[in-house]
Symmetry: C2
Subunit: 574 residues, 2 copies
């Protein structure tokens, strides 16, 4: 509806739209933003590849072509696509079921996962299935992100401690860490803890300090974002100078120098089958995360994004990742905010970032040899702990117990059984609780608020009623799950009320009446007729009335359909 | 709520309630009804056992103790419990996966299935989970019954033709029948076709003829119901006299004489696991069928049934079936109507029927030796074809395409892949379509109907509006699946409308606002504030207002919450 004005070509290639008005100002702003994001992305991409259990260079590869693809097909002007923490964790969980970490099969499976995920996103985009993502409620997402943050941070502890540990849920991880505590490497621990402390300080204290020292806010911001690069440089130098790699400090080691290789996903039915469920979840969660960030940022500039085209943008990015040695990517929250704050005006900023990363892959990789894994783990821990936020538990507890149940289930099951179980259970539970609530709707008996034409619940307001007329307001769509509920309620209410001549069903809150509910209404109509009571409807909405007109019900109805409840009572009282 | 007046003892033992007032009149009526139902049940119970692939006597056993159990625990005064067609078909499908027909394992699995099904029903009853059955919509049930009727009738053709054929879906069955057509037994075919024709005639033509002959309506009714017994007696005699069992006519053969044996379900984890899904479906479908009949019949006498206690009644019946050599039972439609019409006043009629069947098991079983299976197949075919009704397709096509889709899917998948797939797909599809519809709600812009205080859609009614005030009526609960939809709609509508000062969200159709939707409303509030537009709410329902009061939203809201839409416009226009 909204974008029908665009020609099909521009619908699928937003670059044709913004490209037309691209100018020197936009170019300058995009390039500045790209430099800042590149500085931030180099350590992050290495770290997230580590988190996914993949070689460090795959993080770089996932930050080149996918960004170019998004610049062509994406609609958000600020979204920074690339490897992100949650999707890296989900990749590790999905691929870990298929192959052993460190093997060629493992990397091949991650590439295939990116391809599958891209395919799913593209299909969803072409068929405009973006609405499916709405079934991930905010509380479920919040719970899932918090629990993932905890799992990710815990999983990185092994790199800080310099031990071997593994597991896809909290219990496994903690248990594994405790059984390996005797292997702690003291030098790794020193590097890890120092880096973590430094990065926390950079995040909280550096910017205010720089501002106090007289730097301009934007410069202070950029320097603060470069903190992780500082940690990388310093710990790499220290490791190299003191030969710490010979004293138990795990290093990244040799990273191939050069542009991404051309890769082909595995076309193997067994692999596809076992990765399919994970690919669906990764696609939907990646999409939801991207769209939330993109929408928030677009709104700040009164711009719009097109969710269904975002599916195509992200789909293309993942296909690009899979053909260039990468792994599943999506729009990252923190990086997009930085991109936006740094002044990115169009998706071209992403393409320039890709050039930056490509240069890094060409020139800097030899310098990464002595980079301690502990430093990368520290950047991950600091990044994900900022996502951990239990306040959603308190908010939902106060506001809605159903939402609380969904959050709590998501958090507990994610921690206990891993990300896929957690998020699936959260979605199913929130849908079930919604259905359960609509299956036993709130029903109010209403009367006239004196001095108005407005009708309200007799139990909450001082209202006027007429003993011969009963008005029932059902606060829900009438559909199969609650059709019988209304029947039961009405019979219970009507039996023994001898003064009653008319029952009015006030339909102001009834947005749909399905076949099951129609049959119930027919039964109610006949049953009331047997009792000598007439059934009327009032305030039936247009779409519902259209539909009722296609059935026999209006013909069989003993009473009338009134435009307004006030009109109904006026006429029936007369 | 409704039955809190009952003491717990009477809640779980309805017999204590109706038993107090039981008198000679009720006894007479119940006994007459029991005689008629017994006559009808003898051939039916044998036939349905055959349909389930079980020895004929298991049909009799399933018609003794289960009826007594229901008389004690059930609340319906007319429901006739016992073997029914659809559940027998489902038993065959479930048990057929586990063991070969005719083996001891097959019978043992059916007994275990009854036990599991009883257990599930009891648990649902104790936890009052009867509402779960509401998620089977009327169209899905109608489609499922029609498709099952077709499958059952087709499956019985092999007995009419005297050939071997098998399969759990239509394609398998038809294919199997065609490949075995060369085995047709001519004598079987004669018996089968004659019986079928006779039974169809009895159903349509016998009663009017008897009435014309001067019989009283009730007597004519009873004789018409005895038709199947007539077919059984005549074909058995013919087979015996001419020794047709030696000319290819399959007969029931020796049926053990005596009361049901004591049986114990198999306590085997593997068997339980593989039967569990089927047991759940059989329980819910059996429950839905029973409750629909029971409610219809109860309503005719202004009586009530208690659905959650019905679960306990049916659960007890199935446990009783499993300890006395039976198989899953439920309340049958046709038999219950006969029971009701014959004058049954209390569940005691069921107990008397049980005595009748027990006497039959003791005395009549030797007489069943020469009973042709073709006769039983004919009674099944005639019974189930009356269930086949495609009119639901036309009704739903006219009324609701979503319901049509659910019916069509249920019918096609039941025919193509069997009963369990069909009904599961129907339920899931109808839930999905409901969710899909609520995820893109109808939203109307409303104005004042002149001369009233009533507001309606500006596109459907002649109404008065004010360019400075936009009133939006969202016709749906605001929840996670549509929260973003409302945001998108509002921004699209508001952008570029420079006259706009106030937006009123008319909440007469909003029955719930969950956490996700609350966040959207907060975003809308802030976004409109940035544009210099005030957001108001009107006609917020009591329960929704209570909940909003527990959040920050009302505090942050730029505008006000008005009791009525008319009051809002009056105040804001002034």
């Amino acid at each position: 509806m909204r974008f029908t004005a665009l020609k099909p070509f521009e619908r699928y290639l937003p670059i044709l739209d913004w490209g037309k008005t691209y100018n020197r100002d936009a170019l300058t702003n995009d390039m500045v933003a790209a430099v800042i994001v590149t500085i931030m992305l180099i350590p992050q991409s290495l770290a997230y590849a580590l988190l996914a259990g993949l070689p460090a260079e795959m993080g770089l590869y996932a930050s080149i072509l996918p960004l170019v693809a998004y610049a062509i097909f994406g609609t958000s002007r600020a979204l920074a696509v690339g490897p992100v923490a949650v999707v890296s964790l989900m990749t590790a969980a999905a691929v870990g079921n298929l192959a052993l970490q460190g093997t060629a099969e493992y990397a091949a499976a991650a590439i295939t996962l990116a391809f599958l995920s891209g395919l799913i996103l593209l299909i969803m985009g072409f068929f405009r299935l973006g609405f499916l993502a709405n079934f991930l409620s905010h509380p479920v997402i919040a719970g899932f992100i918090t629990a993932s943050g905890i799992i990710i941070a815990t999983s990185q502890l092994k790199h800080i401690l310099g031990i071997n540990a593994s597991g896809h849920n909290l219990a496994e991880l903690v248990h594994s860490i405790f059984t390996h505590l005797n292997e702690i490497s003291i030098w790794t621990l020193i590097i890890g803890v120092t880096s973590t402390a430094f990065l926390f300080w950079v995040r909280k204290g550096l910017k205010p300090m720089l501002l106090n020292a007289g730097l301009k806010p934007r410069m202070a911001e950029i320097l603060a974002k470069a903190g992780p690069v500082g940690a990388v440089v310093v710990t790499t130098l220290v490791t190299w100078m003191f030969g710490l790699q010979n004293h138990g400090v795990a290093i990244v080691g040799s990273v191939p120098q050069g542009l991404p290789p051309l890769t082909v996903p595995k076309f193997d039915a067994d692999v596809w089958t076992s990765l399919f469920g994970s690919a669906v979840l990764i696609s939907i969660i990646g999409f939801v995360e991207s769209v939330s960030v993109a929408q928030t940022l677009a709104a700040k500039k009164r711009q719009r994004i097109v969710p269904d085209q975002e599916l195509i943008g992200l789909g293309a990015s993942n296909i690009a990742a899979s053909v260039s040695g990468g792994y599943p990517v999506t729009g990252g929250f923190a990086r997009s905010v930085v991109n936006f704050d740094a002044g990115a005006e169009t998706p071209a900023a992403g393409a320039f970032t890709a050039i930056g990363i490509a240069l890094a892959a060409l020139a800097l990789t030899p310098l990464l040899f002595f980079l301690p894994k502990a430093t990368l783990a520290a950047t991950i821990i600091v990044a994900v702990l900022s996502l951990v936020d239990f306040s959603i538990l308190k908010t939902t507890w106060n506001y809605s117990k159903a939402d609380f149940a969904a959050v709590a289930a998501t958090i507990l099951l994610t921690l206990g059984f891993g990300v896929e179980t957690g998020v699936s259970a959260g979605v199913l539970l929130s849908i079930f609780l919604f259905l359960y609530r609509t299956s036993r709707p709130h029903i109010a008996e209403v009367g006239l608020v004196p001095g108005t034409e407005h009708f309200r619940n007799i139990e909450r307001h001082k209202v006027e009623t007429n003993p011969a007329i009963l008005t029932i307001r059902v606060d829900e769509n009438l559909y199969f799950a609650n059709a019988r509920f209304l029947e039961d309620y009405l019979y219970d209410r009507v039996v023994g009320d001898c003064d009653l001549k008319h029952v009015i069903l006030m339909c102001s809150a009834v947005n749909d009446i399905d076949t099951s509910a129609l049959e119930s209404l027919e039964a109610i109509n006949h049953r009331l007729q047997d009792m000598g009571i007439t059934l009327h409807l009032s305030e039936v909405k247009g779409p519902v009335m259209d539909r009722l007109g296609r059935s026999h019900f209006l013909h069989d109805l003993t009473g009338k359909v009134f435009l307004s409840q006030f009109g109904a009572v006026k006429e029936l009282s007369a």
